[in-house]
């Protein structure tokens, strides 16, 4: 879960700047940092709630476009690892994407 959140913050950082990405992660309410580095993050509370509030925080920037960036990151992680922690609105999109892949 820590790795997933770090990856999302770093990916958002590529787009909007790492300072703002970290700031928005802090402002989501469930993530704290002991330094300016993404690696120093600490998650607080239910993982599902953490991810949900993080995605909502980033959705303030570009709306669904920002959520799509987070979804692209989530897709890089093993399905069994992430499906239990992603919000339902993301799970539906992930399921639809998996269903549309050539192997299925």
């Amino acid at each position: 879960m820590d790795d997933l959140v770090k990856a999302i913050i770093k990916e958002q950082g590529q787009i909007i700047g790492l300072d703002l990405a970290i700031r928005l992660a802090k402002l989501s309410g469930n993530i704290s940092f002991s330094s300016d580095s993404v690696e120093s993050l600490k998650l607080q509370g239910d993982p599902r709630a953490v991810l949900d509030s993080l995605l909502r925080s980033y959705s303030d920037v570009f709306g669904q476009t920002s959520i799509n960036v987070c979804i692209d990151v989530i897709q890089r992680f093993p399905k069994q690892e992430v499906m239990s922690v992603v919000p339902d609105y993301v799970k539906n999109k992930l399921s639809a994407m998996v269903a549309n892949t050539p192997n299925n």
Binding site: G13, I15, I16, D19, L24, S59, D60, F62, T65, N68
Partner: protein, 295 residues
């Protein structure tokens, strides 16, 4: 009511951008009112029109510096949005430098309309710079992702072809190549085609981002698109007036350029206010909302 959650560095950048926005508004208002005055009360052959034409680029200059200040809020060259804002700001600065070059030719070397000249380095150079700015903005908006999943991929090729065709019909259909002046020929083709490419990219970015684009930055991005369209119209009308020998200093096209520079600068400034809105503490907002609903 809201608690701002930011460091002094970012607070300083926001203050600077507010100062530059105020300066931009003053300068733009001055030139807009001057244009009205010139066109209502001053003869067309007056030198005042030349002074207007040779100095309104300062709007672009202020806008460029404003844009660079705002870009630093977004990570400057370290983020895609920051790089996009930086390129768009550089485009504005290049417009100013192009005008400055022409002004130097006229007032220092007494050369009137020395096309093509050193000024083209900046004027023509602003085209690929704007293209880069729009390209990066499109990347930030996930246009590539939309294109991969869209059934309308043909628009990616159709729109530039249409714009290139329109440019050709408007400016190059009856063009006679002067083999003795290859630079002039290159620029005469390059300006309309280059502008067609950047406006095509703008249209494609708009079409393929508007469905998913939301959030606080939606308005800022739309303002940028509008400013680019406005810039394209100003450039197109300038080219047309030049071809038909109807351009004059202090004319309608000068007002269009002043307004397009202001539009782009204003669009860039909204990224600063958007940054401020994003960094308002969401915890405090939730608390305020909770209080509001219980009252």
């Amino acid at each position: 009511m809201y608690t701002l959650f930011m460091e002094p560095y970012f607070e300083d950048l926001l203050k600077r951008s507010r100062v530059l926005v105020t300066l931009l508004t003053i300068v733009f208002t001055f030139y807009a009112l001057s244009w009205i005055y010139l066109n209502l009360f001053v003869p067309h052959d007056s030198a005042l029109n030349d002074y207007f034409t040779d100095t309104y680029g300062v709007v672009a200059c202020v806008g460029g510096f404003l844009g660079f200040t705002v870009a630093r809020l977004w990570g400057a060259l370290k983020s895609i949005v920051g790089r996009s804002l930086s390129f768009l700001s550089l485009g504005l600065l290049f417009q100013f430098l192009g005008q400055l070059s022409y002004a130097i030719y006229y007032y220092v070397y007494n050369v009137e309309n020395p096309y093509p000249s050193f000024g083209e380095v900046f004027y023509f150079g602003s085209i690929p710079i704007y293209i880069c700015g729009v390209w990066l903005l499109a990347r930030a908006l996930g246009v590539g992702r939309s294109l991969r999943t869209s059934r309308s991929k043909y628009a990616l090729f159709l729109i530039p072809l249409i714009m290139l065709f329109i440019s050709y019909q408007l400016f190059l259909k009856d063009y006679e190549v002067d083999s003795t002046s290859p630079v002039t020929t290159f620029l005469d083709y390059g300006y309309p085609f280059g502008q067609a490419i950047f406006i095509s990219l703008t249209i494609v970015a708009f079409i393929f981002s508007k469905k998913a684009l939301g959030g606080i930055l939606r308005k800022s991005v739309m303002f940028v698109f509008m400013a680019l369209v406005f810039q394209y119209f100003a450039d197109t009308i300038f080219l047309y007036e030049t071809l038909t020998d109807t351009w004059r200093p202090g004319g309608l096209d000068d007002l269009l350029f002043v307004t397009s520079y202001f539009s782009m600068a204003f669009a860039l400034s909204t990224f600063a206010s958007s940054y401020k809105k994003l960094t308002v503490s969401r915890v405090k907002v939730a608390q305020v909302e909770a209080i509001s609903t219980t009252v």
